[in-house]
Symmetry: C2
Subunit: 325 residues, 2 copies
């Protein structure tokens, strides 16, 4: 059984890399871009090159699913890179292959706002995938850069799932029917993503949870069980959205970037602008064991627990992180 988290954006440190090892985490998809352009993105790759040099006994920069096995056999965690915004490719389709070569494996087509490719979930209106978006999806399919629609609007997501010749992902979100957050996904969206072979990672970010920070482990695991029953367990994994040790200035940057001179509270509010507290059963990489236990308690078989905890993401990585063989 693999243990894979398909989204984190922590304030990376030796402490957190050590917790990944202590928590038995085999692989993590880490966000390295919220709003950065190409040159700034290169600097983010460089940061990870330095961490890899310094903490090479704890982490390994992954390129393929096989690197997860290499990481396990050497007692390390494989790190895979992703972008929450297509800003790194700017207006240049040729940068799709360049960022893949540099190690990117997931790219969201939009982040809350309209992008050159697709609409974000905070826009009033969603015209679907743009002219450039259609071209970029084809290029991402060709090189093996996974389309991630976690922060995109519904019509854009459904069109991306249909247009993409390879399965897409919603790396971090929950069903809207369980908790009606703007970022959570409607049945229609989940059906389009999973119906085209795609994957969804369940989020542990309190704004995406029923009862937010007070969400119970049982409620979360029951939600996972219901989704698996409805759409098929093979389409689900975890994408915790864990932002451990980040200062509140970071969530402001995520929301505001440089697109407004004002303030935007996103899922927060003027009264509660910062990161909400995590539920007590999931605060760090040490706590995946709680979710594994919780999934067993709501009735999943051992195989299905393994599928959700990481085996599904392993299969998805193996099939989608390079050109079609």
């Amino acid at each position: 059984m693999y243990r894979i988290d398909c989204l984190q954006f922590a304030n990376w440190s030796e402490q957190i890399f050590t917790e990944m090892r202590d928590g038995g985490v085999d692989a993590v998809h880490v966000t390295i871009v919220y709003h950065e352009d190409f040159r700034e993105t290169v600097a983010e790759f460089s940061k990870w090159n330095r961490w890899s040099e310094e903490f090479g006994h704890l982490i390994l920069l992954g390129r393929t699913a096989a690197d997860i096995d290499l990481a396990r056999s050497t007692n390390r965690t494989a790190i895979f890179f992703g972008f929450q915004n297509p800003s790194p490719i700017e207006a240049d389709i040729d940068l799709v292959e360049i960022v893949h070569t540099l190690g990117a494996r997931f790219m969201q087509l939009s982040y809350n706002n309209q992008s050159l490719l697709a609409t974000g979930c905070y826009e009033d209106d969603d015209p679907g995938i743009t002219r450039m978006g259609k071209e970029v999806i084809r290029e991402m399919n060709r090189v093996g850069l996974v389309v991630d629609m976690s922060h995109s609007a519904d019509r854009s997501t459904i069109e991306a799932a249909d247009l993409s010749e390879r399965p897409i992902a919603v790396t971090h979100a929950n069903p809207h029917a369980w908790h009606p957050a703007l970022r959570n996904k409607t049945d229609e969206v989940i059906r389009a993503v999973t119906g085209n072979g795609g994957m969804m990672g369940f989020s542990l970010y309190p704004h995406h949870l029923k009862d937010k920070s007070d969400c119970t482990l049982e409620s979360f695991c029951q939600m996972v069980y219901n989704a698996a029953e409805t759409y098929g367990v093979e389409h689900f994994g975890l994408g915790s959205d864990l932002c451990q040790n980040q200062p509140d200035s970071i969530v402001t940057y995520m929301r505001v970037g440089r697109w407004t001179k004002g303030i935007d509270y996103g899922e927060g509010s003027a009264a509660a602008p910062g990161f909400p507290p995590q539920p007590d059963w999931f605060a760090s990489n040490l706590d995946f064991v709680n979710i594994e236990r919780g999934l067993g308690e709501v009735g999943f078989s051992d195989d299905d627990v393994a599928a959700v905890m990481g085996d599904n993401w392993y299969r998805f990585f193996a099939e989608n992180f390079g050109p079609v063989s």
Copy 2:
């Protein structure tokens, strides 16, 4: 009477600057960006600094309408800069003031395709001005960078005209009712732009002309007359879209940029992919005299001929090229 052309993108040379003088052209709004990012845009400003150094006896880099008078009194043509795409500001609202300081006076919110701000006229669907677009319009209003919607889709254009607290422009297009090109503007769009105090420049680009390269001077001038009667002569000028001496590779770059690895023919076709020939009565800066004569012949008063030939643009530049005083 001023003679002002509110859009050209020639293959600039001493020959063309000399023709501007010989043709009595007081000011030209020149496009310096189709797809360039910020750093590349800076290189375009630099090119003009060099031309200004070399050809300072023919041209003057203009910042305000008063520079047009300075240019006239020293027998030169004032050059004003514009972008046909918001790509120079990337995803950074603070770059609006930076590009204005560097001399930009017009910026299109989109060029054919969807941008971060607005929709282009070649997209299937137009959701209007985006979240970032609303913020950027406010910032453009503040510094005095004119919103140009020449290549934008209808709903985006109407929303921009309504949202902008200062008049906007369609620097180069004609009425759709005269010639139903995708780039020409419907009555509803012209009414929104002019009804909010904005300006439209009539294009001499053959794809925007009735009968294209065979368009007659009389047909063009009659169209101008009808528009002036319908919306008010004070809202119109010229924006020739003259692309003199450009190789066909340039029109391909305009259409394709780096957003597709394929080919897009835009207003052309596989059979006729290049620049179409200009009508024989408007081939260079020497030919504004023909239009001036033609406008008189369709019944405009001398004052109204002067208004269309440049006085309206002079007033618009005077009112919109800096902070509200």
